[in-house]
């Protein structure tokens, strides 16, 4: 027999053994309030500060400077830094052909005076006359057409995914999953607007990554809700209970997955951009990190309570208050995976009498509430006959 037959005394122990009984549904307002605050903050910031669109979206200024032994990409970068231009959004490339060898520097648009100053600085650094430094404007590379096509593709994707989730699960779950996804994207957009990070094509990819991750995570959680829904279909379990039980059951999985997903991104952030100095990775890593944490958070605190909200008015009204505390814990453990409520001899007797009597709801509930020790004292029955 495993050691799982006792309830661990510490919270961590209970978490580790899958014996938690957190009333997620009861705390749903906290999740909703946080979500609303984040969304309002993002929208407010979007209106007041906007998004800082990078070179690829807005174009900017470009310099072509003759390259030499003493003037390369690093030197050009140093010149930009000396002139107070952030090099994070700058694109510095060496372009060489048989006849010439240039350093091309592209930055977001600066004022004419600044541009002249930078031109002079480049000329000085490269040891050439200012007339040899070619200054020009550069357009965006990400035309509106790309955005249009991407948005269209995204909308079609969301429609098809909604249909898929509606078929595989149900439409309320599709709605809740999309809401959670929207929440995550808003959170990340919020980070970009509040902190004034530059939006690059890489950022768009980060948004899409987060969007996909959020949907993925929500579906994994919903799958368990769906499974438990089937298990409790016979006893009119309030949907809030099903949600709570499912959440507690997948909690450890969510935590483990979060840790495993977040570690590489944190490593990207700390080691890649911190120790190794690849600045391009920094904002990208930050966006991903926040998006992933938000994705995991929203699956539990936004999507599922929302789903319970959608479902609360569906079907027959539950006959009792939702389970909390030890009762919830018993249900979490009892229905863990066996797919059946543990029925001890006593409850079977009670069930048989109840079957002829009024309603078996209380009886089944009683079965759920069997003392944990009793629940686990015997191994699952071999499932040979009857329904699963």
């Amino acid at each position: 027999m495993s050691r799982g037959d006792q309830i661990a005394s510490t919270a961590l122990g209970r978490l580790f053994r899958g014996q938690t009984a957190i009333d997620f549904y009861g705390r749903r307002r906290v999740g909703f309030i946080i979500a609303v605050v984040v969304i309002i903050a993002t929208i407010g910031s979007l209106f007041t500060r906007g998004l800082d669109l990078g070179l690829d979206f807005e174009g900017g200024d470009a310099w072509d400077i003759p390259a030499s032994q003493t003037f390369g990409v690093d030197e050009a970068k140093a010149v930009l830094e000396d002139n107070g231009v952030p090099t994070n959004g700058a694109r510095i490339q060496r372009r060489s052909s048989d006849t010439n060898d240039l350093i091309t520097v592209q930055i977001e648009e600066v004022t004419q005076a600044n541009a002249d100053q930078i031109t002079a600085a480049f000329a000085e650094a490269a040891g050439v006359g200012t007339d040899e430094v070619n200054f020009s404007f550069t357009s965006s590379t990400w035309g509106g057409e790309i955005t249009d096509k991407a948005v269209r593709a995204l909308i079609i994707f969301l429609i098809i995914v909604s249909i898929f989730i509606s078929i595989r699960f149900e439409w309320r779950m599709a709605l809740a999953a999309l809401a959670a996804m929207a929440h995550d994207v808003v959170v990340v957009v919020g980070v970009y607007t509040v902190f004034g990070f530059e939006v690059t094509p890489g950022t768009v990819i980060a948004f899409l990554t987060i969007l996909g991750y959020s949907l993925y995570d929500t579906i994994v959680v919903f799958d368990r809700v769906r499974e438990n829904e089937g298990k409790y279909a016979g006893i009119r379990m309030p949907y809030e209970d099903i949600v709570n039980i499912s959440m507690n059951q997948v909690l450890m999985r969510s935590i483990n997955t979060s840790i495993s997903s977040v570690i590489p991104v944190v490593s990207l952030l700390l080691i890649g951009s911190g120790l190794l100095g690849a600045v391009t990775l920094r904002e990208f890593g930050l966006a991903l990190l926040i998006g992933m944490i938000s994705g995991i958070y929203s699956s539990i605190f936004v999507a599922t309570p929302l789903l319970a909200g959608f479902k609360s008015n569906v079907g027959r009204k539950p006959r009792r208050e939702r389970l909390t505390g030890d009762k919830l814990r018993a249900a979490v453990i009892g229905s863990g995976v066996t797919g059946r409520l543990a029925t001890t001899g006593a409850s079977v007797d009670a069930g048989s009498t109840a079957r002829s009597g009024s309603h078996d709801d209380d009886v089944k509930t009683a079965a759920v509430l069997q003392p944990v020790g009793q629940l686990l004292t015997h191994p699952p029955r071999p499932r040979k006959k009857k329904r699963r």
Binding site: S2, T99, F137, K149, A153, F157, Y213, L268
Partner: protein, 568 residues
């Protein structure tokens, strides 16, 4: 059962290692994006007088042409007065120049009688008789009259016409080929002709304006429609300046009047191929608001058979047919439809006996025709990586360290079972690398920094498959099942979960890949690859590995999930 599991396990490992070895042996590596590896850059210079807006339009057109021709994720921008095209993964300059030679202005010209072209460099003064002769494009690009008339005039099998898209103008008209076709190409040069080919690479053997093949020619195939009816024939003296002979795609030639409009009258990227109810292909294209007038002016001339756009044949009922509009790209007539309505409203539909390839090509030409200015490649340069050379190294090092930490965590948590995760992730990584290398070779999709970080995120999603699986097993065992019993049950329910969740990612990857462009498409590609590899490894590696371990005595007495696994 056991043998099947072993087979699946070993076959997967062998297949993945073989794929990896194959890629390494053939030096097949994923193409890295501009930000990671740099590439080649081509500078396109526009002709004089191009405005900034023109250049922006050209930028978008160059980009979409490149995407259509399979060069993925190019970086196209206007810098100063030039257009700079950076191409990732292109190593050879010839290839770079070839891939950007997408420019070319489409001209719209009326088709006039051959005598108008007498003053042009065409060597022979065309007469009604010579019309019957096949004309071919010489290798030096001049038009010569084939000295070997076939003696057979094929009827102009009214093949192509332009009409409205909407029903009201269903009466639209057919459009006929500009001049009778030489039934068989007796002169090879036209086929191998260089200028014609560079502009119409896909079409070397399928002329867009081909008349119907002989078997579709009516029995009375001598109907002389190609001749200009006498009452409509203008004086034989040239009356139109600017008329010249232009080769058609099938190696013939026709006499076109001066250019009256450019492809700019068409809305950008609006041309598309439709399949009619009788299985015939047609090409429809939208007119731009500001281009409609110039198009309609030309169309009206042709419909009314004005001297500037005379009739070039008679209709089946014997009446003079309306004039034709020649759609000319780089001096080659792509199509010369007869105009069946005087005024077009919004869109134009070109019908005819196209093959699908021909229709596709015409549609491409019409889309490309929106080039407002001519651009010519000036120079190629190599471009260094824009993200700084060490970004990739940093990302890879950081990714590996992250991966090591994840594995350490999983090892601490799942103990012995984490061995399966390590094996599975190794197989997964090899599979992803092989697939990326293969796809890069086949499609030119470059792996950018965003893609690399996307793959790092995918590690998390992949590990999740194991976490879901093992957490489920933990529950089962805690509820008193033996490992042997718990493993297959857990896998079944895990597989349902993983499959549903991954299917969403795969749907996303497919849709984004097929409908979007640029780096979003690259993202979709790598999302698809990592997700499919995850499913593949989960079913063909993880499942047999865990089931076999569960059946063996390997885990007995060992710790896993922090539980001691009971003897079964």
């Amino acid at each position: 059962m056991k043998r099947r599991l072993w087979f699946s396990l070993i076959a997967t490992v062998v297949a993945v290692i073989a794929a990896l070895a194959g890629n390494i042996a053939t030096n097949n590596e994923p193409i890295l994006g501009l930000d990671l590896q740099g590439g080649l850059s081509v500078i396109l210079a526009p002709e004089d007088g191009a405005t900034g807006d023109d250049l922006l339009v050209v930028r978008d057109l160059v980009r979409s042409s490149l995407e259509r021709s399979g060069v993925a994720e190019p970086d196209v921008r206007v810098q100063g007065s030039n257009i700079v095209v950076d191409l990732p993964g292109v190593k050879d300059k010839e290839e770079a120049l070839r891939s950007v030679s997408v420019s070319g202005i489409v001209e719209l010209r009326s088709v006039v009688n051959f005598n108008e072209c007498a003053a042009s460099p065409a060597p022979a003064v065309p007469t009604d008789e010579t019309i019957a002769e096949g004309r071919v494009l010489d290798s030096d690009g001049t038009i010569t009259v084939d000295g070997d008339p076939t003696g057979e005039v094929t009827p102009p099998v009214d093949e192509e016409s332009i009409g409205f898209l909407n029903d009201e103008a269903k009466t639209s008209f057919r459009r006929s080929a500009p001049d009778p076709d030489a039934p068989v190409e007796t002169d090879a040069p036209a086929e191998t002709d260089a200028p014609a080919e560079t502009d119409a690479p896909a079409e070397t053997d399928a002329p867009a304006d081909t008349l119907a093949p002989a078997d579709s020619v009516p029995a009375d195939g001598t109907e002389p429609v190609a001749e200009v009816p006498l009452d409509l024939a203008p004086t034989l003296a040239p009356s139109i300046t600017g008329a010249e002979f232009l080769p058609t795609l099938d190696g013939n030639a026709l006499c076109a009047g001066p250019s009256q409009a450019s492809g700019e009258v068409f809305a950008r990227d609006s041309a598309s191929v439709q399949l009619g109810q009788f299985g015939q292909f047609s090409v429809s294209v939208d007119l731009r608001g500001d281009g409609e007038a110039s198009w309609n002016s030309l169309a009206t001339q042709c419909f009314n058979r004005l001297p500037s756009c005379p009739s070039t044949g008679v209709d089946t009922d014997g009446s003079a047919r309306p004039g034709q509009i020649a759609i000319v790209l780089d001096g080659i007539v792509q199509s010369a439809p007869v105009v069946n309505v005087p005024v077009f409203d919004g869109s134009v539909s070109i019908t005819g006996s196209f093959t699908q390839d021909e229709a596709d090509q015409l549609s491409d030409v019409l889309n490309r025709g929106a080039f407002p200015v001519q651009v010519t490649p000036q120079e190629t340069r190599t471009v260094s990586a824009s993200a700084g050379g060490d970004s990739l190294r940093a990302a890879i090092i950081a990714g590996l360290i992250g991966l090591a930490l994840v594995l350490a965590f999983l090892l601490a948590y799942y103990r012995w079972l984490a061995l399966v995760i390590i094996g599975g992730l190794t197989v997964w990584a090899m599979a992803v690398y092989s697939a990326a290398a293969f796809v890069s070779g086949a499609t030119n999709y470059a792996l950018s920094l965003a893609g690399v970080t996307g793959i790092i995120v995918a590690i998390g999603v992949t590990v999740d498959s194991y976490v879901v699986f093992f957490e489920r097993m933990k529950d089962e065992i805690r509820n008193g099942r033996t490992l042997r019993n718990a493993a297959p049950r857990s896998f079944n329910s895990t597989w349902r979960t993983i499959w549903s969740a991954d299917l969403v990612s795969i749907i996303g990857a497919l849709i984004l890949f097929s409908l979007s462009v640029g780096s979003v498409r690259g993202f979709a590609l790598y999302l698809g690859i990592t997700t499919v590899c995850d499913l593949f490894v989960c079913f063909f590696f993880t499942r047999p590995a865990v089931l076999l371990i569960a059946r063996s005595k390997f885990m007995v007495g060992k710790r896993a999930f922090g539980l001691e696994v009971a003897t079964s």
